[in-house]
């Protein structure tokens, strides 16, 4: 029996619906799958380890033959400090650029700027790391008279440059999403352009801008290659902007390749992976709660 056209259409409809449903679910499957595998590799050590020592000790000596120590305190401080500093640089620039692009910029300049910013986002992180190593590092030594060029500030500068494009493009979308009627109403009330931005647009686009910033944070904390090359990769609690540091991500990248599978060191590296998972989870959750909180008002 041949299928009628109508039946065929109904079938294909169902098929497409199923495919789309699968696409939607796949994200969840992948996230849980990755979490499961990382957890499985790291879990055996979770039972053995003193969690307080793991999180707060700055003694990271995993390959010691006599007394291996697995404290990631200095690495956590490293990751957090470089991310915070990067955001302190990137947020004003990113949000400022987003405001300029969406409110003050002429159409032609806007086209050029957007293309350039997208180009900035397309630079691979190894290239950023290379720039940090060969350009920024000697520059920092010269300008700030510091003994080491690869340090916290160098890494943060690169991370800032890497997350600015994300903040700009999402921030601009958020500002564009504010209805023109808001702007017209504000101008009709006699507001200057700056007042429109400051009093009307920024509050209205708050959620989107926050999302932009948090995506930037996610980019910064997860970045590996650039920080591995530009922060000095040194286990210590930084006392100044120009101290070298080491991040969680860079530690995994540098050490996993040569660690024998299943060893304690290997398991701890996966535990660090879990920790990174946890950190991003907390960042995202906070973002969600803040956004919801804002919405309720």
């Amino acid at each position: 029996m041949r299928l009628s056209r109508k039946q065929l259409r109904a079938w294909s409809e169902k098929l497409i619906e199923l495919a789309i449903r699968l696409c939607g679910i796949s994200a969840i499957v992948f996230v849980f799958g990755i979490f499961f595998f990382v957890f499985r590799e790291g879990a055996p050590f979770l039972a053995k380890i003193d969690l307080r020592e793991f999180l707060f000790s700055d003694q990271w000596i995993p390959t010691s033959q006599t007394n291996p120590r697995y404290g990631v305190g200095a690495l956590i401080v490293g990751s957090v400090s470089v991310t915070v500093l990067a955001m302190a640089i990137a947020v004003p620039f990113g949000v400022g650029a987003a405001i300029f692009l969406s409110e003050f910029c002429g159409p032609r300049a806007k086209e050029g700027l957007k293309i350039t910013i997208e180009l900035l986002a397309a630079i691979p992180s190894v290239v950023w790391g290379f720039i940090g190593l060969s350009v920024v590092s000697p520059l920092l030594i010269q300008v700030f008279h510091v003994p080491i060029g690869v340090n916290l500030f160098n890494g943060a500068l690169l991370l800032a440059l890497m997350s600015v494009p994300i903040i700009v493009s999402i921030g601009e979308d958020a500002l564009k999403a504010v209805p023109d009627t808001y702007r017209e109403a504000a101008v009709a009330l006699g507001a200057t352009r700056w007042q429109v931005v400051y009093r009307v647009l920024l509050p209205a686009a708050k959620n989107g801008l926050l999302a932009a910033v948090l995506l930037g944070v996610g980019r910064a904390i997860g970045e590996t290659m650039a920080v591995l090359m530009a922060t000095g990769h040194s286990i210590r609690i930084p006392h100044s902007l120009f101290d070298p540091i080491r991040t969680l991500t860079a530690t995994i990248a540098a050490e996993l390749g040569e660690t024998s599978q299943g060893s304690e060191h290997y398991q701890v590296l996966f535990l660090i992976g879990l920790l990174l998972f946890l950190i991003t989870f907390i960042v995202n959750l906070t973002a969600d709660l803040v956004v919801k909180g804002i919405r309720r008002k």
Partner: protein, 315 residues
């Protein structure tokens, strides 16, 4: 599975620039390891299915050397292609254990534990071939007036609770440097070079002082020292460039200091040198054996000299 993805094929006339791409490799490995941690190690690539390819993985110290050997060998024996990749001694040994490589370049001996693992997985014993020597040179910035250093001083600089922390402790002042702190450049804690330096200088039961800049490749050490006036670091003798200064090393304070050279390594007067090995799992296939024989021959040994390493005997 990991090895397959990080393999660098050496083509005749082109050089594998594995040391430079080590960082990228490591990243790829990390991503892979995170993503594929659940997969079983790849055992499908048994060596018998490849007739003309020798898989050669291992030490970063030896990767330039191995690539040069492979390139030269392709001219001698065009039917055989040696595929060289770096990643570290540990990776080479892992490759032997899970069967993904034929020949491991190692800058240290097999550890008993690794030998056991090899026996359990493949039923063979690790077979060792000493193919040459590598000297660890001590590097400082060009502007540094220091010319020689003793092993004790090096140990005091690098070991935990070591007493030498500033250049003035060595009565050295570096023109144009900011500050007096000695910036220790080291390697990541599971590289063969790091482990050898620890054994030979820091002390087997001692630890490195934390807070050194742990570079991810031999070349990176040189690159950083060239740009950092206060730095000191160690790396293979072959990595020296005109941009950095190589120190003479004395066994003890007061002993004559010796500059790293082929002669000094061979007559054992240079104190920090180590043998380089090729390892196979059990007796090698005839093809691989032939390659090892060629490496030991005059033609192969000459390449050690050309790439900055030390041959087994003076040519």
């Amino acid at each position: 599975m990991q090895n397959q993805h990080s393999r660098i094929k050496t083509v005749p006339g082109g050089r594998a620039e594995a040391a430079g791409s080590r960082a990228i490799q490591t990243l790829a490995l990390t991503v892979l390891a995170l993503g594929l941690a659940g997969c079983q190690p790849d055992t499908g690539t048994s060596s018998s299915t490849r007739k003309t390819v020798i898989q050669n993985t291992g030490s970063d110290t030896m990767v330039n050397l191995a690539a040069a050997w492979a390139e030269e060998y392709s001219k001698v024996e065009s039917a055989v292609s040696v595929e060289v990749s770096g990643g570290g001694t540990g990776l080479g040994i892992a490759g032997l254990i899970n069967g993904s490589c034929d020949l491991a370049n190692c800058s240290r001996h097999f550890e008993p534990k690794e030998n056991e693992e090899l026996r359990a997985k493949t039923g063979t014993e690790a077979k060792e071939y000493t193919v040459g020597y590598d000297a660890l040179s001590i590097f400082v910035h060009r502007a540094n007036p220091l010319n020689e250093i003793s092993l004790e001083e090096l140990a005091e600089i690098y070991r935990a609770d070591g007493r030498i922390q500033r250049w003035s402790d060595l009565s050295v002042s570096i023109p144009g440097a900011k500050g007096d702190e000695i910036i220790r450049v080291s390697r990541q804690n599971n590289s063969g070079t790091y482990q050898y330096f620890k054994e030979a200088v820091v002390g087997k039961d001692r630890e490195f002082k934390l807070g050194s800049l742990d570079m991810n490749g031999s070349k990176d050490v040189i690159g950083l020292i060239a740009k950092t006036p206060n730095a000191i670091g160690y790396s293979g003798m072959g990595y020296a460039t005109p941009e950095v200064k190589v120190l003479k090393v004395a066994r003890k304070k007061g002993d004559p200091a010796v500059a790293p050279s082929i002669q000094a390594v061979l007559d054992k007067s240079y104190p920090i040198s180590r043998p380089l090995f090729l390892y196979t799992a059990g007796d090698p296939r005839p093809l691989v054996k032939q390659y090892i024989d060629w490496v030991m021959s005059d033609a192969g040994q000459k390449i050690l000299e050309h790439t900055g390493y030390v041959p087994l005997k003076m040519q």
